[in-house]
């Protein structure tokens, strides 16, 4: 029975849900309230159900038994069934994340296509305004999850231990836990339409999010659970990078992708607590009748926006910092040149982390926040373009006069630079208070953040995906299809989103199902382009699936790259390296005479090193 842990998890989860739901109903009955009020029963039932699911899926066998003084059970499965179990191998967890979030990305993309169908012409096309807002909200949160977790959960899990020459992460069981929290999140989000959906957008501003359909509560629980996964993952990567680097892997020799994960992990470790608290406030408001946002009782709806953006602005750097890391990695290896201004880039990453905590209120310029806060937040927001510019210039400096090897991943990395430039420059208009007051809540904002996150991060995900595909699967993708995918996606992506800047300046509001007839032309154009954009993903999925099954077997180091992940077999063995590698120099010194990044370890040599140090 390959899927036994899943069955166990589901049944224990159901038992937990009934137990928790019954408990909530019982307590409400004792307090003289209506026992079968849906939302309290769902909330408490879900908490118990989540614990039941985790225990059943593997937490009990591999871990919780220890708490009762029993010996933990070892899982001896080594074939494909690992991917459906509570496996602690970071490579398995990385693949679990990548496949899960690839599927979620396709679902979110399908919702976007539905929205574009609705927006093809003024008036009702496919769905009414309520359904449109539900689709828009679900698309938002699914894609935010994809943007947060694909690189941080997928690539980082697979690659960080390999890149630093470690055997696994610092806390392998917590790592497995951080993945197995995700399926309940997906189930909750996909169940929202059954409970009336949620129409408050992924930002869930009160007062709407306090009074709308019960689907909102499912959304709040889902996001809260996802936050736990994010915090645990951040902690794990920080501890891994600090403590498990191979001998010689000093901080100044760390591959830039590892640095970007380190920086992003600092944010997800700390800021995520704020969004957890923000969501909890809304749950309390709905379930326990508190007055955080009810001004009649001294509450203030703006409190939510402050707390929410104190996480959610730094969160865009959880998305984009690892994307910078992937792109700089790919640019350096395919330009055959040392990474330009490595130390400046590291400094820029860390400055972005610090500055990202001081910019949140630029989301509140039009919310009725005190006027004297406009200027300081405008200044800090514009300040952050300095370290971001350093990263961008380092990318340009790296390809400058390089011998570019235009593989599919390199094309996507260059596409990133092109799109991110547009995304970055249009951000200045939103950081500036006078222009922001005009542009806020128009398609200009939609176009801006899609240029940074989709044109930016998703292009980086594609670059990383093609770059590491041979390492992860042991097979080579079809390069012609890869290049076809790149050009198709680059062109249709820009045709879809570039007109939205113009539509926004013309006054096209975001988050609405309808628009004035004057804007019919630009919307029809963007809709048709978006259908071609969606079709480009068919090429991607076909290429990935067919290549994974039948592609030519990949060499250990098809790119002749210097970093450590390529110095072991494709895919790497359970222990990653037969013996611990020794790091001698920078990973990026291509063409520097006599420079070596690493030397393979000698089997058994690790013992001697330990004795020598101990």
């Amino acid at each position: 029975m390959a899927l036994l842990p899943l069955v166990r998890g589901l049944s224990l989860g159901a038992v937990g849900f009934l137990l928790g739901g019954g408990l909530a109903a019982g307590i409400r009955g004792l307090m003289g309230l209506d026992p079968w009020s849906a939302e309290p029963v769902i909330v408490v039932g879900y908490v118990f159900g989540l614990i039941g699911w985790l225990l059943g899926v593997g937490l009990w066998g591999t871990w919780a038994r220890e708490w009762l003084g029993l010996a933990p059970k070892k899982d001896h499965v080594h074939d494909w069934r690992r991917y459906f179990r509570f496996c602690t191998d970071h490579k398995v967890i990385g693949v679990q994340y990548l496949v899960t979030f690839m599927v979620i990305m396709l679902l979110g993309g399908l919702l976007a296509v539905l929205m574009r169908v609705e927006l093809m012409q003024p008036g009702k096309t496919l769905m009414g305004p309520g359904q449109f807002n539900n689709a828009m909200s679900l698309h938002g949160i699914l894609m935010v999850a994809v943007a947060v977790a694909t690189i941080m959960g997928g690539f980082a899990n697979f690659l960080v231990p390999l890149l630093i020459g470690a055997e696994d992460v610092a806390f392998p069981r917590l790592n497995a836990l951080s993945y197995w929290i995700i399926p309940p999140v997906a189930v909750l989000l996909l169940a929202t339409p059954l409970m009336g959906g949620f129409d408050a957008g992924w930002t869930a501003y009160p007062p709407l999010s306090v009074i709308n359909a019960p689907g909102q509560t499912l959304y709040l629980l889902a996001f809260l659970t996802f936050g736990i996964s994010s915090i645990v993952g951040g902690m794990n990567f920080l501890a891994t990078i600090i403590t498990l680097r191979a001998p010689g892997m000093s901080w100044s020799r760390l591959p830039i992708f590892v640095w970007s994960i380190f920086a992003a992990a600092l944010i997800s470790l700390t800021a995520t607590q704020f969004v957890a608290y923000g969501l909890l406030m809304i749950i309390l408001e709905r379930v326990a009748g508190t007055s955080f946002f009810n001004s009649a009782q001294g509450g203030a709806p703006l409190l939510y926006q402050h707390i929410f953006w104190f996480y959610s602005h730094p969160a865009v750097y959880i998305m984009i910092l690892p994307a910078f890391g992937v792109v700089l990695e790919v640019l350096a290896h395919f330009s055959r040149k040392p990474l330009f201004a490595y130390k400046w880039v590291v400094g820029a990453f860390l400055s972005i982390v610090v500055l990202s905590f001081f910019v949140w209120a630029h989301h509140l310029f039009t919310s009725g926040m005190a006027d004297y806060l406009h200027l300081p937040f405008m200044v800090t927001t514009e300040l952050i373009s300095i370290p971001t510019g350093v990263v961008f210039l380092a990318g340009l400096g790296t390809i400058w006069l390089g011998r570019l090897w235009l593989t599919t991943p390199m094309l996507f990395a260059l596409g990133f630079l092109f799109n991110f430039l547009i995304g970055g420059i249009t951000g200045i208009f939103l950081a500036d208070v006078p222009t922001d007051i005009q542009l806020q809540d128009t398609y200009f904002v939609v176009a801006h953040f899609h240029y940074t996150i989709m044109g930016g991060e998703v292009f980086a995900i594609m670059a990383g995906g093609y770059y590491w595909f041979p390492k992860i699967t042991g097979r080579m993708y079809n390069d012609r299809l890869g290049k076809l995918h790149f050009w198709w996606m680059l062109v249709t992506y820009n045709l879809t989103f570039l007109p939205m800047f113009w539509a926004g300046v013309q006054g096209m509001n975001r988050r609405v199902a309808d628009f004035p007839p004057e804007l019919a032309g630009v919307n029809l154009f963007a809709s048709i382009a978006s259908f071609f954009l969606a079709a480009s993903f068919v090429v991607l999925v076909y290429n990935l699936v067919v290549s994974w099954k039948r592609g030519p077997v990949a060499a250990a180091n098809p790119w002749r790259a210097r970093t450590l992940e390529w110095q072991t077999t494709s895919p790497p063995p359970l222990e990653n390296f037969p013996a611990e590698p020794q790091v001698m120099g920078s990973p990026y010194d291509y063409g520097v005479p006599g420079s070596v990044h690493s030397r393979p370890g000698i089997a058994g040599g690790a013992q001697e090193v330990k004795h020598a140090q101990g």
């Binding site: 009762l68 902690m235 498990l244 700390t270 995520t272 957890a276 909890l280 309390l284 409190l303 330990k610």
Partner: protein, 189 residues
């Protein structure tokens, strides 16, 4: 396959040091949660404080919780020195102090329901702050209970008592969080 055999041989930083780092990172993260909660009190209620707060009870449970940190510290030291008896006695004392604290909070809640119910401005803050903190105390008590029973079976020996150390550090953190919450709720004016 939680830990593959060669990993032990290959690690240059001790497992204990990695665990300590992980716990400190977790506590840093939790610190942000309490910072968010405390900041929302000042944002919504400023320095407002109802006169009906039970100051004697508030001070009482604060003293009990601080006392529990002392016994927790003694439990940790006893375990580190392999003193089985001292460990059991002090862990039990910590659990009793912690439970007393929770009893105090529930008495506080019964009164608060009448004086400033959860739908009022101050009640919202009061119940949220004490509730989230009490939840942390409860998880700490569960962990202490696990540690207590494992310790009675002789699972912690001299130099191998991370379970105790980690739990006690978490317990101290929960106490420190209360040291910030107490003046925020009871003293500012």
């Amino acid at each position: 396959m939680a830990v593959h055999a060669p990993a032990e041989a290959r690690r240059h930083v001790s497992r204990l040091a990695i665990n300590r780092l992980g716990l400190w990172l977790f506590l840093l993260s939790e610190g942000f949660l309490f910072a968010a909660i405390i900041s929302s009190r000042y944002y919504l209620q400023g320095l407002n404080r109802p006169e009906t707060l039970n100051q004697v009870l508030g001070l009482g449970i604060t003293i009990v919780l601080i006392a529990s940190s002392l016994s927790a510290y003694r439990a940790e030291t006893s375990a580190a020195h392999g003193d089985q008896k001292g460990f059991s006695r002090n862990t039990l004392a910590t659990i009793i102090f912690g439970a007393l604290f929770l009893v105090g909070v529930s008495i506080e809640w019964r009164e608060a329901f009448h004086q400033f119910p959860p739908y009022t401005g101050f009640g919202t803050i009061f119940f949220t702050m004490t509730g989230i903190h009490a939840f942390h105390v409860l998880t700490g008590l569960l962990a202490l209970g696990v540690v207590f029973f494992l310790g009675r079976d002789g699972r912690f020996t001299k130099g191998a008592s991370w379970g105790v150390e980690g739990t006690v550090k978490y317990w101290h953190f929960v106490d420190v969080a209360w040291v910030f919450i107490y003046p925020t709720l009871y003293l500012v004016n």
